[in-house]
Amino acid sequence: MIIAIASGKGGTGKTTLAANLAKSWEGPVQLLDCDVEEPNAHLFIRGTKLEETSVGVPVPVIDPALCNLCGDCGRFCRYNAIAVVKPLPVIFPELCHGCGGCSLVCPRKAISEKQRRIGVVETLESGDIILIQGRLDVGVSLVPPLIKAVKARLDPALPAILDAPPGTSCPVVTTIRGADYVLLVTEPTPFGLNDLAIAVDMVRELKLPFGVIINRAGSGDERVNVFCREQDIPILLEIPDDRRIAEAYSRGVLMVDALPEYRKMFLGLIDCLMKTISK
């Protein structure tokens, strides 16, 4: 069972929700931090590191002895990553998407591939929680391949919670694709509603079942609730705007650990998710 947590924008409490959900889970559970540009679930789930693997993407290298400067590779690459100039074509690894096309089109078989590191995937253990997180190297912009590497670590025999990057761009789609259910986290404000509507379009396009969680409920207006009612979208949880939650976070403690009534709330959510997914 794979549950992905996403939100149309950052700062909605998506990561704390993922951490709270993992902490409330009964039995072993995997938490995948797919926000590889800024992984922060480890701030709430402190574990011991079990392993670390570096992740690379293939980049082309040209053999000067074979290349006759025909230019086919440069014309083929739609990412403009190859400039065919005398005496040897120049390759820009940071622009290369690793499609492998240039080595296929090269008539002289002058292009081979080598691995270029883009980041690491780390596995940490904290009680029943296995935290798997990706960490992109500085200056690298290839986010989706690293997210795929994080997801490749997922053990399908165990339940998994996926914390997506904020927004609705390509990395988010890479994260939530294949999930059994998507939780969209939002806030009860006009901005929150605006971003939620965009996120709803995204999950509908991907044809994934989804529901909404309202964070800091009561701090804004009713627009999100009205929207969900009109669109027939279930609101699975409304987390109140409770000072004690913020106070617990400031001490680095999750709400489900600090406040028993919230643990109960999350158990209810898990129960509801299980029922929905098995249907």
């Binding site: 440069g74 403009n80 400039a83 820009f92």
Partner: protein, 120 residues
């Protein structure tokens, strides 16, 4: 030795375009034969990424060994350098003025790109 200029026009009186990677055209001038050749850079203007890189390859293919332009980003510079093309930056308003300054030896050769990437 052919000289390349970035421009939007077709002759020496045309304005010098200050952005190398997204210049509409390259004017290639051969001081010995006085022949002018104009290369259209339209296909690179709208490139999502790597416009400077492909512009640099076009200049290299033209056979020019010198480039006189306003500014040149790091990736384009790397390609030009690999191709052995010397780069000179100038704020001259027209191609003719830039040529005059170059021939008078008033321009210093750029040793590095003078703007950050994405400026192209």
């Amino acid at each position: 030795m052919k000289i390349a200029f970035t421009t939007s026009g077709d002759n020496l009186e045309a304005l010098l375009d200050s952005r190398f990677g997204r210049a509409p055209k390259f004017l290639i001038y051969d001081p010995e034969t006085k022949i002018i050749e104009v290369i259209d850079n339209k296909q690179n203007l709208n490139a999502v990424q790597g416009a400077g890189i492909q512009s640099a390859s076009m200049v290299a293919q033209s056979g020019a060994q010198v480039l006189v332009t306003g500014h040149c980003g790091p990736k384009a510079f790397q390609v030009l350098k690999a191709a052995g093309i010397k780069v000179y930056n100038t704020d001259a308003p027209t191609v003719a003025e830039a040529l005059k300054r170059y021939q008078a030896g008033q321009l210093a050769e750029a040793k590095d790109s003078d703007v950050e990437g994405h400026w192209v």
